[in-house]
């Protein structure tokens, strides 16, 4: 701002002198115009809203390069040099987003052990172990690389327990409508067709559950933010966490959490044994 306000008086005060007036005027005009343009540009760069994606990508060039290195070592065989996928090996990763990368790699499903009905959860490789700083960095770098090639659903800013909503009851309602048909009403998982299955939700952390809803891994349908809003997703996570990890075992043991089958068997065997034992004691002679 300062230059524009201080400079204009200069040419005006000297306007009275005749010699070289034309050249001076033009020079001063050009100078004023240049300074004005510069200051407007500077002002714009301050006021302009920060474009998140552009900034992130610009800042992450090194991370993306690191991610590409990791990709070339761990993923390229099945997903191709340009993430286009390889016939009969792996699908294209263009547009899957870093949420999908986080879910598949942090849960150990990728890199795939072998081609089978579906990718199995296993301990993540050391390179991508989210529990170590290096592994978490590598995961983020790989995610940034995939994100930079086609975009796609991204992980939420919040992580861990911050992803648990405050209304597990509503989460339960939504869980039973959208998730329970495959994952069982307390997230124990269940069978699908041809050897596929919906896994138990016990070992999944909040970020993985959120990423799974967003990206629809394997045979799971996707749940976009318009279909289940972020708040609804968090409520669902709150519900899942309230019925897993032994939190729903009022009475001591969940008995597998698979409903009346195991509970009925236990009640029948234990109860009947107790009744028979009492009957024998009643009838026994001293």
């Amino acid at each position: 701002m300062e230059p524009t306000t201080t400079t204009p008086p200069e040419p005006r005060s000297r306007r009275g002198r005749r010699p070289h007036g034309k050249v001076r005027r033009r020079l001063a005009g050009a100078l004023a115009l240049g300074i004005g343009l510069l200051s407007v540009g500077a002002l714009y760069s301050v006021v302009e809203p920060a474009p998140q994606t552009a900034v992130a990508q610009a800042a992450d060039a090194a991370t993306i390069a690191k991610g590409q290195d990791l990709y070339n070592n761990a993923c390229i065989t099945c997903h191709g040099a340009n993430l286009q996928g390889v016939q009969d090996r792996g699908p294209s990763l263009v547009g899957v987003g870093d949420a999908a990368v986080y879910f598949q790699v942090s849960s150990g499903r990728m890199p795939l052990a072998r081609q089978e009905a579906q990718a199995m959860r296993k301990p993540p490789t050391q390179t991508f172990d989210p529990h170590t700083q290096e592994g978490a960095d590598n995961l983020a770098a790989l995610g940034a690389f995939v994100q930079a090639n086609g975009g796609g659903p991204q992980l939420p800013a919040a992580t861990g327990e911050a992803l648990r909503g405050d209304d597990p009851a509503r989460g339960g309602e939504l869980f039973r409508l959208n998730c329970a048909s495959c994952h069982n009403f307390t997230g124990r998982g269940g069978a699908l067709s041809s050897g596929k299955f919906a896994p138990s939700l016990d070992p999944a952390n909040e970020d993985q559950i959120y990423a799974a809803m967003l990206t629809g891994p394997q045979n799971m349908p996707k749940f976009s933010d318009a279909q289940l809003s972020p708040q609804e997703k968090k409520d669902i996570i709150a519900y899942i966490k309230s019925v897993s990890d032994g939190n729903n075992d009022v009475g001591g043991s969940g008995l597998g959490g698979i409903g009346p089958t195991s509970e009925g068997v236990i009640a029948f065997v234990v109860g009947l044994a107790a009744i028979v034992g009492f009957a024998m004691w009643l009838g026994a002679k001293q």
Partner: protein
Amino acid sequence: MSGATTGEGGVTSAPTAAELEEMTPEQLARLAGDLDDVDVQHNAPKFPVPGTRAEKRAERAVAGWFTLSALSALAFVIAFIWWPHEYVAPDQPGYRMYSLYTPVVGVTFGLAVLALGIGVISYVKKFFPSEVSVQQRHDGPSDEVARRTVMAQLAAAGKDTTIARRTVIKRSAGAAAGLFGIGLGIAAIGPLIRNPWKDGPNSPLWITGWKSTNGETVYMRADTGDLEDIRRVRPEDMEPGSMQTVFPYRLSEQHDEEALLKAQKAGDAPVMLIRLRPGTKVVKRAGQENFNYGDYYAFSKICTHLGCPTSLYEAQDNRILCPCHQSQFLATEYARPVFGPATRALPQLPITVDDEGYFIATSDFHEAVGPAFWERRS
């Protein structure tokens, strides 16, 4: 019993009043057994010498059970009234105490009943004398005198009421009792008699909530877990490779909680709105080529086998799996069955998008949803 008193066994005859007066309680008790033809072979008290250590030990054991029962009952009353029973979420303080409410109430109540029972039984086992008695068993009917006199007595009593010659009373009483019986029968059987076809083509089995009444547009709404929070579904709400359960919704139902509830909870209303991935090869059913909207296909969620909700949509191979009997339907081929006991395709709902960009049903299903029934003829 009558056999014993009439002296069929020939053991004892009833004593006179004077004899009864002179008898001791022990003699009376023995007489009771004798009259019933009971012979006590062996009777020995458990503790012939009172006050032994064994007797005291047995007494303590029994009293211990009763005391345990009493304490448990007291604990049950206290726990039932004062133990925190209001719901506490698992990650909140006080959850552990809350989660123990049911076990504590159950254990104390159960222990009170169990210990009381064990106390009674063990008292019987420890202190009742060990006795072996034999009672003669008498076969056959009552003797001739008893049978004849009883029948004559009943007949005489009946005759005394003069009912035999009061025809008007007999008939009116018969009518009252008979009609009341028929009324009871109608009340029991009436609810079972229904004519499900009385509405003709609009009978409940033929139509669903997706049928437009008086021309009103039927939108698709999502279940948000809150009946009043109505979210109409638009194409941009769903990603490729996703599925959403939708329910019929009319604008006139906006503030009508009962209608909203009916639309959302009706057994034949749920529809799976599936968005296939672009470029998926699709086979459409003849005559239903325009039922879909782009990549969006809407199928009834009710299995055509036995009516379970078939909402296990496998996004990779586009199969719809029914969890009850493993019927599988192919979403890319008009949801025709490809495995399992179902024999008919899931009915497809014709859909399009209105001027405002919301999904609407262009009509009801073109066939009855759910399992087959006699009149369906397919």
